[in-house]
Amino acid sequence: MSDAQLFEKIEAYLLGHLPQAEAQAFEQEIANDERLALEVKVQRLERAIINDIVRDSVKERLTKWQNEEPPKPPGNASGTAAAAAKNKRRKRIWLLLAAVLAGGVLAFIALKFWNGGKIEPQKPPATQPVAGEPGSEQNQPDLPQDTLVSPMENPVVNTPNEPQQPPAQPENKPPDLQKNEPQTPRSQQLAMEFAKYEPPTRRSSQNSAADSIFQLALAAFAKKDDRETLRLLDTPEAAGKSEMRYLRGHTWFRLKNFGEAAKAFESVATASGLRQEDAQWHLLLAYLAELPKTQAQFDQLKTTIQKAGRRHSHSADLEALLKKMGD
């Protein structure tokens, strides 16, 4: 074998491009030949040095481009600490305004009763304190509560690239506040009605950390502890497992964060696997919940499922959904 051929072979071996059998045979050769072993090591380090030189150059370029980047418009720079501080200040101002407004309303009601001669000093005000009012337990100015516990427990990532996320999570709101919210749109109601999570029928045979985390996440999901579920799923292992990303999608879906749910389902729906069709179906539902914003995506995915016909495990569900939508 010439030097050039040997170089090419070592290169292919180091990059993992040799077929498995050939790689094993080559490894055997390396184990029996000290000179070859040294040559492989030298070439590996040579490659590492050149890669490192390229890395340094890429980082230099990135730094230069970052400095050239135009300043982000307000509200679009959620990735920076400055933006977080700005958001905090803004929230404080809103809470203060809400408190002043609520105080004004209460004073007005009290004054009205007083002037009308209906003096009922013992009667409690008609409304309970609302989140944000003085005296309310919800009067934590700096949202979200979970950041007070641990940053790990706040899985909401609101970046400029993820514009579909609604700005707040509803699950921590007291019942009074939820009562005053606008009515859920019909499309969202339908999406919620059709969404259903079915746990996998068989457990993974690998007794790995990922598997244990998944079991814990499943248990948390069953207990409707969505925050804990997301915390468990927000680990590197979970990121690599489609089953976990699928569960993550359902958790966000239940929290009515359809943007995040769509992202999680999308990552499963685009790769072939056991959950692909389930993920496609729930991705469609996530799009449905956000209509009309997601009309184009909804139509496209609907067509894909329709084209698959009976081969798609959710074709009947889609028919039923479309029928309901037509009602």
């Binding site: 491009h17 590492a48 980082k59 970052q66 790990m152 970046t159 400029p160 950390a209 680990t235």
Partner: protein
């Protein structure tokens, strides 16, 4: 304008430097995500910057080495690299915290950033880089990035493409010699 994955990969593997830079630049849109991810997992803004830049450089390397198989979108792949990069860095900086958090990955082969080197090998890499002259570093870098020899000759003021080839060979030999001495 956002490019799709195929366009980005073509640009990264191509020889046009402008296209290559534009493709790399696309990842700046994911910088806020990377910074947020690191911050939410106990890192500082500076850690986030390091992880983001490392991740872009690593993604470029994986594409060059044909290790991105297109099983996920390039963006998802990038996010996984960021996550793993931060995990690795955190394990290095605060090993106790990572272990106690209970997510030591068992399936290490699944990690996109799988560059485990012994301490002494890392030193060889560092010293090897420093030992090479500026011109050698540039020739090797541009060649590795797939820039045409004509363009390298133009950029580094070589007389011909042959001169570039010879210089690259000499630099590699010099590097190998150095590594052999260090081992």
């Amino acid at each position: 304008m956002q490019k799709d994955d195929d366009e980005i990969i073509r640009a990264l593997l191509g020889s046009d430097r402008k296209n290559k830079d534009e493709a790399l630049r696309q990842f700046l849109t994911d910088r806020p995500w990377a910074l947020n991810h690191v911050r939410q997992h106990g890192g500082s803004h500076e850690d986030g910057e390091d992880v983001f830049q490392d991740a872009v450089a690593l993604l470029y390397e994986k594409v060059r080495e044909n290790k991105f198989q297109g099983k996920s979108s390039l963006r998802t792949f990038f996010h996984r690299i960021v996550e793993w990069r931060w995990y690795s860095l955190k394990r290095k900086l605060r090993p106790q915290e990572v272990v106690s958090a209970g997510f030591e990955p068992e399936q290490r082969e699944a990690a996109p950033d799988e560059t485990f080197m012994r301490e002494e090998e890392q030193q060889i890499v560092q010293k090897g880089k420093e030992m090479l002259g500026e011109k050698c570093r540039e020739v090797l870098r541009l060649s590795e990035e797939g820039i045409s020899q004509g363009e390298i000759a133009k950029e580094l003021s070589f007389q011909s493409t042959n001169a570039v080839k010879q210089q690259a060979r000499r630099c590699r030999e010099q590097l190998k010699e150095f590594i052999r001495k260090m081992l």
